[in-house]
């Protein structure tokens, strides 16, 4: 695991900050978590709309999904209007758990 490397081992004049090439240690771990969260954020938000388009039978978007009823709602209404907000709350909880964990890990090593 990258977290086993010493975070202070980098060269003193390396001030690189790059989301795609993060420095080893704390930042690389944090960016890894951020990627996971970003992907789940985009996948659920936009992936579902793509799915609606892919399975649609009419230009207005009627499909098996829109005919399915879940908790009394047409599935697409339930997903976008209710579930996504719950999902966003969950993502924020996950992020906080990740960061709490990382901060604890790296503050101790210092």
């Amino acid at each position: 695991m990258a977290s086993e490397q010493d975070p202070t081992s980098r060269k003193d004049d390396d001030y690189r900050v790059n989301f795609f090439r993060p420095r080893e240690g704390f930042m690389r771990q944090k960016v890894r978590y951020t990627w996971i969260l970003l992907i789940s954020w985009a996948f659920f938000t936009f992936g579902f709309q793509f799915l609606l388009v892919m399975v649609q039978n009419t230009p207005a978007g009627d499909s098996l999904i829109t005919k399915t009823v879940i908790f009394g709602f047409p599935l697409h209404y339930w997903f976008s209007g209710q579930f996504l907000i719950v999902w966003f709350i969950l993502l924020c909880v996950l992020f906080n758990v990740f960061v709490d964990h990382l901060t604890k890990l790296y503050r101790k090593r210092k």
Binding site: Y15, M27, T34, F73, Q82, L84, F88, N96
Partner: protein
Amino acid sequence: MEGLKLAPALLLAGTLGLSLLVGMASRTRKGEYYLVSGRSTGRMGIGAAIASNWMSAASFLGIAGIFYLQGYMAFAYVVGWTGGYVLLLILMAAQIRRFGKYTAPEFVDARYDSPAARCVSAVITILITLIYCVAQYKGIALVFSWIFGLDYTSSLLFGTSVVICYLVLSGSLGASRNQQFQYGILILSFIVPLMVIAKELGYFWVFPQLGYGQALCDLASSPQGDSLAPWTSGTPYQWMALCFTLMVGTAGLPHVLSRFYTVPNLRDARWSVVWGIFFIGLLYWSAPVYAILAKISEGHSSMVPTPEAAHAMADIIVIKAGEWAGLPLWLIGIISVGAIIAAFSTVTGLLITGAGAFSYDIYYRLIHPDATEKQRMVVAKATTLVLATLVVALAANPPWLIAQITAVAFALAGNTLFPVFLLGIWWDRTNKYGAIAGMVTGLIITTSALLLGQSVPLIGTLLPATSSALIGAPLVILVMILVSLLTPPPPKEIRRFLAEEVHGP
């Protein structure tokens, strides 16, 4: 127009007076350090403050209005305005807090070390303020028109003078806004009448947010035959572009997290965002129910408004829903007062932000560096008045819905400030030339649909004014990267600060 409605008018006066009193009580109890006393309110309290700061006429009136007219398309607003917080939290909030600069011009100045860039970002901040305010004013005018039975223009002028009086009065009394109290008022005035409406119409009323599925299905099978298909009022591209725009726009307005930056403990601040989204979600789960129940009432009385009439009343459909369901006047009055409170507090906050951007970032830092404190105060107050008047002129005849006007402000933020914050935090090589080029490109992209949308249909299709950031933001990021690579890197001191302080564990 009908005449004055006494009960709502009295409620409005009473609530405004009460919130002034509570504001003064908060001040005397907590003294000047009100903002720093976050810990005692706890994470849930900070979350409520974040939510009350966020709620505006767009949330309170606008979303239900869009839902009434466009159905599924409105979820782009709901999802965009909640998902944006995720983006802000995981990508930027903690870093902005470590930076110690919470307004766009201050951040730009500290990160890019350039008065020119600071000036451009201040101008953009003022523009965003203006557009955002226009939407709020429209909401205020519509509700005032409903309460006092005046026409739109007189209500606009009347509402504006009440806003200004309120602003001056709370300023001179030193009333700090008690945001937890305000959130409580807002959410109760939104949800309690909704429960009553659901009960009147015979739907599950304990949690109308969970029970309106039945109403949706009734609507689909009614003789009106409203389609529930997702793309009836907009293409999938429009949905996703709008949703993305609102998300990056939210992240480009970092002040929406206000209290996040002033709470002493970063960990509390992070966790409070979870509460914040939940509290905002409570409103967004409920807003569509108003629109659906209004449609159900329409079906019962078999009065189907013409498209023009529907468009005209969409923005006060939350009030109409109450009227049509036969609620007592005072209960509908509660909804209207909630809307006014939401719009008022947003306008107050926005005008202060806009005036600050001019009096501090442009006047003091650029035009007149040795201005005294007193001179700056005078300029700030004058700017507030000028902005308030300018907004009245712009809001005189807005053809768009509240949520749509607000979306333009978010498109502007997403095309300009979001890339500047994002790259400023996540790429040390970004420099002032890149930032300026990026912000100017973003301004051009945002305005292109407004100016050229009619004559060049392709621009209108790809970059709608409300949703230009799906293409705009990545384009601006690209411009920033290219320009930054072609020009010298930023000073080492800034990069060291970024790497060690801002991104440290």
